[in-house]
């Protein structure tokens, strides 16, 4: 479940939608509407259907294995439908609102789930949570909706940080920076050695820039303000938001100028080849790293800017929720309980790729030094955030992509950019 990756999702999606024609456009839009009562895989009191967007080969195989084990245990039967991520994302509202919806879904915690819960589309899984007493409070809060009931069962999470190659840092004679000043000093050193200090990949994956915005905002204004901003309770043209960009501007000269043109997968290659110094990214990037490079990888947390602001880290959580309309709530909850178990989560971590932390505190994560360090960082954090689109919505992400790529190109126009961002966000909140 480490493959949260809008870039890949979108890419898969437009493969499928490539033939979208303008003349058929209006019919296309409405076809989606009229399929609201579309087919849903069979349920009833028998098999529980689980709709999964984990379509990358290893993750898919891991899920198949989990479902197979569940079926053998005799607490119920489940059948797995794996759907390409982009199709899944655009169809999810249709699944949930249909008359005969699939029972369980892989998806994200946070405002995405809460939004569906506020429309009474999600099953109350408080029963499942009764047996999850040892889960950390932060995950319980994340899985609880506005009315106080649990609607989400977390599977695992991962973290974001500045990744670098230990051998390269040693070669350049630099060490992990702790503060913003130290960070800029490291950048300056790398630049003087002819290495673009900060890698980024915005070509196909402009959403990667949101990590910079998220982190600067939670380091300067705190996680609380960040969440309010993303929920439409604060304004993007607020001076507090502008302060984020004033800081960002100090680091802009150190960004790899080629990073605008290629996607994060290639930024990964550039980092591993020593063509950039460090890269702010989530652990999923390691999917694209050759195995021999993994041992040389390390990361440091986003530097502290204001020591008075409580430490928060981006730790997107993946997991499951279920449809409120399920015909078999007992079977659905049995499946969710199984997926939350130590056994299932360890099996998933072992079978899938990537570096993730199981949500169940008793489940063992991989014991590589990188994972141990990542877990320690998240344990130390006062607050966890998800990621821009998970804390707000997929709908707000395009506004961020536009604003942030424009800022990186034209930092002088920041006032106008923030005004446009606010206007765009208002439209999204308005619907």
């Amino acid at each position: 479940m480490s493959d949260f990756d809008p870039g890949r999702r979108r890419f898969l999606g437009h493969l499928g939608l490539a033939g979208l024609g303008a003349l058929g456009a209006s019919s296309f839009l409405s076809a989606c509407a009229s399929s609201a009562s579309g087919p849903a895989a069979g349920n009833g009191s028998g098999a529980v259907t689980i709709q999964s967007n984990l379509s990358s080969p290893q993750a898919k195989a891991a899920m198949e294995k989990l479902i197979e084990t569940f079926n053998k245990q005799g607490k119920g039967t489940a059948s797995l439908n794996t759907i390409a991520s982009e199709t899944f994302r655009t169809q999810l509202p249709t699944y949930l609102t249909s008359a005969n919806p699939p029972d369980v879904y892989t998806w994200y915690a946070g405002s995405v789930a809460n939004d569906y819960a506020s429309r009474d589309l999600l099953l109350d899984v408080s029963d499942v949570w009764k047996s999850l007493g040892d889960y950390p409070q932060s995950l319980r809060t994340l899985s609880t909706d506005a009315s106080g009931k649990q609607i989400f069962v977390p599977m695992n999470n991962y973290w974001w940080g500045f990744f670098y190659r230990k051998s390269n840092f040693a070669k350049w004679g630099v060490q992990e920076p702790k503060t913003w000043t130290e960070f800029l000093a490291v950048c300056e050193t790398l630049k003087s050695k002819g290495v673009p200090p900060i890698g980024i990949g915005l070509g196909d994956t402009p959403w990667v820039a949101s990590a910079w915005f998220d982190y600067l905002n939670i380091r300067i204004n705190g996680a609380q303000f960040h969440r309010e901003l993303l929920a439409g309770k604060q304004r993007f043209d607020d001076p507090k938001v502008k302060a984020v960009f004033t800081r960002w501007r100090e680091a802009l000269p150190y960004f790899d100028p080629k990073g605008k043109a290629y996607p994060f997968q290639e930024a990964t290659t550039a980092l591993l080849a020593g063509k950039t110094g460090m890269f702010l990214i989530g652990t999923f990037f390691a999917d694209a790293a050759p195995k021999d490079a993994l041992g040389d990888l390390d990361f440091f947390r986003f530097p502290v800017i204001d020591p008075a602001v409580p430490l928060a880290e981006e730790a997107p959580t993946d997991g499951f929720f279920a449809s409120a309309k399920t015909a078999n709530p007992t079977g659905t909850k049995a499946l969710l309980s199984y997926l939350a178990s130590t056994e299932a989560q360890e099996a998933y971590v072992k079978a899938s790729s990537g570096i993730v932390l199981p949500a169940n505190p008793k489940a063992k994560a991989s014991d590589s030094p990188l994972v141990v360090k990542g877990k320690a960082m998240l344990d130390e954090a006062k607050e966890l955030t998800q990621f821009f689109n998970r804390d707000s919505s997929d709908a707000l992400q395009p506004t961020a992509d536009t604003a942030l790529t424009k800022f990186i190109d034209k930092p002088d126009q920041i006032d106008a950019i923030l005004r446009e961002w606010q206007a765009g966000a208002e439209k999204v909140f308005k619907g």
């Binding site: 437009h14 490539a18 979208l20 456009a25 019919s27 989606c32 196909d204 402009p206 043109a261 999204v428």
Partner: protein
């Protein structure tokens, strides 16, 4: 009396004969597709008009807002940019693919040794899916990719830029692969047209002392009228529905600089989940396509009349 009977009975018989020609099979061939189309094309299209008058996120029921979406469109800078880009696209992509396709057809119309190879080579891009095409061109445009290597080799390093990430060049960098593909397609249409011209006309013109330019101007081009109508319709429709190549290469970015109406509609609908507003954009695209094609058809009919 007998005479009147015979005259009146003649016409009904003729009529009956004519209607008898409409066999049930033929009627079925018209009506069945029509029924299917009504459900899958016409009805959803009409619904699209209705949705353009609503605010709708795809989950809650659509809320009627009248012409709000169209009023918003009128003041939407991104929409205006997309409209301008679509016009640029229509002119550049449309114009250059007609010129290029026609030029290639003229060059490759004569049967020479190896001409089949060149025709096939030019037509090959049409065979590939545009998404695959986009992948190949992305490699071409990427930093230190083929484009940059060529420029460096000829000493034009100063021109090097992130082609798809620079708002100045993104749109044109996307038009190029679209053209690369379309020219082969248009060429085939024109080749067919050229083949259909009676060689005797050229022979006669040559006898009259017309040089090759005059023969092109006064014999070939007028003879291609029928093909032109097809090419124009194809070009207009292809321009307005251009989506895949742009979406695969730039997604309309950076910051909307290569946005077309089609990509804006898609991102509004499926990323921003504003389906009412996206439907309004779809209606605008539909009206534009209809206006251009009807405009041409009306003119074509008038000329024939």
């Amino acid at each position: 009396m007998t005479a009147t009977i015979s005259t009146t009975s003649v016409t009904p018989i003729r009529r009956r004969r004519r209607s008898a020609r409409l066999s049930p099979l033929l009627v079925a061939f018209v009506l069945v597709p029509f029924a299917v189309e009504s459900v899958w094309v016409f009805w959803p299209a009409l619904q699209g008009f209705w949705f353009s008058l609503t605010r709708w996120d795809g989950m809650s029921p659509p809320a009627f807002v009248g012409t709000d979406n169209y009023v918003e469109l009128a003041g939407d800078a991104t929409f205006r940019g997309a409209l301008v880009n679509t016009v640029i696209w229509l002119v550049l992509f449309g114009g250059l693919s007609v010129l290029g396709g026609f030029g290639m057809a003229l060059v490759l119309q004569k049967e020479r040794r190896g001409v089949g190879f060149y025709r096939a080579a030019l037509f090959t891009p049409v065979v590939f899916s545009l998404v695959v095409t986009a992948l190949v061109w992305r490699v071409f445009y990427q930093p230190d990719g083929v484009a940059d290597t060529i420029l460096r080799a000829v000493g034009l390093e100063s021109l090097i830029r992130p082609w798809l990430a620079d708002p100045q060049t993104a749109l044109y960098a996307v038009i190029l692969p679209a053209l690369w593909r379309q020219i082969g397609y248009v060429m085939v249409l024109f080749l067919a047209g050229l083949k259909a011209i009676d060689p005797a006309l050229h022979e006669a013109a040559r006898m009259d002392g017309a040089n090759s330019w005059q023969r092109l101007r006064h014999v070939t081009i007028p003879q291609l009228k029928g093909v032109n109508a097809v090419v124009l319709s194809v070009i207009v429709i292809d321009s307005l529905r251009s989506f895949d190549i742009v979406w695969s290469l730039t997604r309309g970015g950076p910051y909307h600089s290569s946005e077309l109406l089609s990509t804006y509609m898609y991102s509004t609908a499926f990323q921003s989940l504003r389906l009412g507003y996206a439907s309004a954009i779809a209606v605008v695209i539909f009206v534009l396509a209809l206006a251009v094609i009807l405009g041409y058809l009306v003119r074509a009919f008038r000329e024939e009349a």
